[in-house]
């Protein structure tokens, strides 16, 4: 698909049920890219499923959360000389058919981070009201902070170039790498862009947004967004 070296990083926590089909789909629809699974302290067969698919796995001995898994994946990508790192969920919600469109602006050097967005154009995505409210709130915050609209701050389908992957090593939100991350990156002068994608429903396994996390999310992300705005980038 591309001459450049692209690594798809799949953060996975107890995803034995959907991982195999996700990996197979990436291989089928985007044969030119490499894949790395970061098993974030799973208690199920996530690692074995990935190995059986012939995909390299890096394992955290304990669970760190999506942010930590991405940091590990991006460092691996950086050290192995990849030019672009893609974040793709293990649960099958992100269709690898969109990889090419997602990668294009980053590979062409038109932006440093591209975000697969459900809202750039009508894509028929339906979220429960509380999530929709949160998405509206955080895209408004991103607009205030960055000065331009990011319609889908919560998208976990993104591509990052080398420079961004390097910065993510020492400055990255722990649990929800959403609006605060985008604000931090924009403040560092990285160019963000959005690419329309269609996301699917989770295929199996459980959503990681438990009730507790749903309540914690707005607090944490409001505070972290504010901090990303007032803190001098280190």
């Amino acid at each position: 698909m591309t001459a450049a070296r692209v690594l798809v990083v799949v953060p996975a926590h107890n995803e034995e049920a959907s991982l195999a089909s996700t990996l197979a789909e990436v291989r089928a629809k985007a044969p030119g890219v490499d894949v790395l699974v970061v098993d974030d302290g799973s208690r199920d067969a996530t690692t074995r499923v990935a190995r059986e698919a012939g995909v390299p796995v890096v394992r955290h001995p304990v669970n760190l959360g999506v942010g930590g898994a991405l940091q590990t994946g991006f460092r691996w990508a950086y050290e192995h000389g990849y030019e672009v790192g893609v974040q793709l969920d293990a649960d099958g919600q992100h269709d690898p058919a969109y990889l090419e469109a997602l990668l294009e602006p980053v590979l062409a050097g038109r932006c440093d981070v591209s975000i697969g967005s459900r809202f750039v154009s009508a894509t028929g995505y339906h979220a429960p009201w509380n999530r929709r409210l949160g998405m509206l709130l955080f895209s408004a915050i991103a607009r205030l902070a960055i000065g331009r609209a990011i319609t889908d701050t919560t998208s976990g389908f993104r591509a990052y170039n080398r420079a961004v992957m390097n910065v993510c090593q020492h400055d990255f939100p722990k649990d929800f790498p959403d609006a605060p991350l985008l604000i931090t990156l924009a403040r560092r002068g990285f160019r963000l862009c959005e690419v329309p994608v269609v996301m699917r429903e989770r295929q199996s396994g459980r959503s990681f947004y438990t009730l507790g996390k749903q309540l914690y999310y707005p607090y944490k992300n409001l505070l972290a967004s504010l901090m990303a705005l007032i803190r001098r980038p280190v």
């Binding site: 304990v62 940091q71 460092r75 722990k174």
Partner: protein, 124 residues
């Protein structure tokens, strides 16, 4: 001037016992010297205020509290809050360090495995 009241006795005894317990924990290497300092300071304050009624009365008067017991409680509460804040700081730092170490460990283990399997790189 004043006899030791029952309250004073209990306070003083409690302070001494706590101090001894803290020192014993240090001796057994269960508590680091660093953390023991806070507790030793706290027990000293309790003991001094417990023994010296004039001092306690004077502080109460200066701070405008309603009674000596309020002063004692206020100090206790302030100490507890300070200790809790200090502990959350330490805990956050431990968390950050743990996070970084876990990621490093995962990558190092991957590197070792790759080397063991003949440096084939990604394909495993």
């Amino acid at each position: 001037m004043t006899f030791l009241s029952r309250t004073q006795l209990i306070t003083a005894l409690g302070a001494v016992l706590l101090a001894l317990f803290v020192l014993e924990l240090v001796r057994r290497r269960k508590l680091s010297e660093e953390y023991s300092l806070l507790w030793v300071m706290a027990t000293t304050v309790i003991a001094v205020l417990g023994f010296s009624t004039p001092l306690l009365t004077w502080i109460t008067h200066v701070l405008g509290f309603l009674g000596e017991s309020s002063t004692t409680f206020a100090f206790g509460l302030a100490f507890s809050l300070a200790m809790l804040l200090y502990l959350s700081l330490k805990l956050s730092r431990l968390g950050f360090e743990n996070h970084a170490l876990t990621r490093d460990l995962a990558l190092l283990r991957d590197e070792v495995e790759t080397m063991r399997h003949g440096g084939g790189g990604s394909a495993r």
